[in-house]
């Protein structure tokens, strides 16, 4: 029995459609996160993820294997997200595709003057995770989408470019800026893990 991904796809197309459950399982998380990066609402992301998966099933025959299945599926998820966004915002709003990197803005990292190597236990802190979630959610759309595909879903530069329909150079620029914005944003949280110096009245500075 063929159980590789390509094998599964061939069997599904030959009529063993129940195997689609198995094919999609490793990518469920990716599909949801892709949708969430675009629509920014849990409910909408879940509905969109379901629609994207159904769409992938209905159009599986059009998957020719030139791209990886994961990239193909991500593209479907992105299209679903964009469709939902257009519907929500209406045609009058600026569409996502029209956004470009602004040449303005400060993308330098925050210097951490009293930095100590963060112990692994510190990374376990819930506040840090929460702060990261908020910071990612607040990134401008074009940066959040690249960051999600690349650093959350761990697609490579080429795959990210292909899925978003932009060139690899733009992926690198957006990724760098996203990472620097997050570093700057989270620096205060990271800093407090260093042994605090005491200020007046014993408050940590």
């Amino acid at each position: 029995m063929e159980t590789t991904e390509a094998g599964l796809i061939a069997r599904i197309l030959a009529g063993e459609k129940e195997l689609f459950h198995e094919l999609i399982r490793p990518y469920e998380r990716m599909v949801y996160l892709t949708l969430f990066a675009i629509v920014k609402s849990e409910t909408d992301a879940e509905d969109g993820a379901q629609d994207a998966v159904i769409n992938a099933f209905r159009h599986l025959a059009s998957f020719r294997g030139e791209a990886k299945f994961s990239t193909w599926l991500t593209t479907i998820a992105i299209n679903e997200g964009r469709k939902r966004l257009r519907k929500a915002k209406g045609a009058a709003e600026q569409s996502m595709e029209e956004q470009e990197e602004s040449h303005e803005g400060d993308f330098t990292p925050a210097p951490l003057t009293d930095w100590r190597e963060i112990p692994l236990e510190a990374l376990e802190r819930k506040e840090l995770r929460e702060a990261l979630r908020v910071a990612v959610a607040e990134l401008p759309d074009i940066y959040r989408q690249v960051f999600t595909l690349r650093d959350l879903e761990e697609l490579n530069i080429e795959e990210t470019a292909q899925a978003l329909g932009i060139n690899p150079g733009a992926v690198k620029v957006r990724l760098h800026r996203a990472r620097m914005m997050l570093q700057k944003r989270l620096a205060p949280f990271l800093k407090t893990t260093a042994p605090g110096r005491k200020g007046f009245f014993g408050r940590a500075l």
Partner: protein
């Protein structure tokens, strides 16, 4: 070539992704050896990426997978024998 901090910051993302060429990589490493500020920026950025890739940071809604497969099962049941033809 001796790099200044700003130059290192510009390449930090590519340095993490190991997409800088060997010469630049060496220059950056030489700079990092004596520059605490840039080392801290590099470490903190790496920490953020580790945290990002950790499944517990970005969690799925409870029951997401179950609902997804239920919906899919309905779709499979209602589709014909060869539903995936174009």
């Amino acid at each position: 070539m001796k790099l200044d901090c700003k130059h290192v910051w510009e390449h930090i993302s590519e340095y993490i992704d190991k997409t800088v060429d060997a010469k630049l990589r060496q220059d950056i490493e030489r700079h990092l050896e004596h520059c605490e500020i840039c080392s801290a920026i590099l470490d903190s950025t790496r920490n953020i990426l580790v945290l990002t890739a950790d499944d517990r940071t970005f969690e799925l809604p409870v029951g997401y997978s179950k609902r997804l497969h239920e919906r899919l099962a309905k779709e499979l049941a209602s589709s014909g024998k060869n539903p995936v033809e174009e």
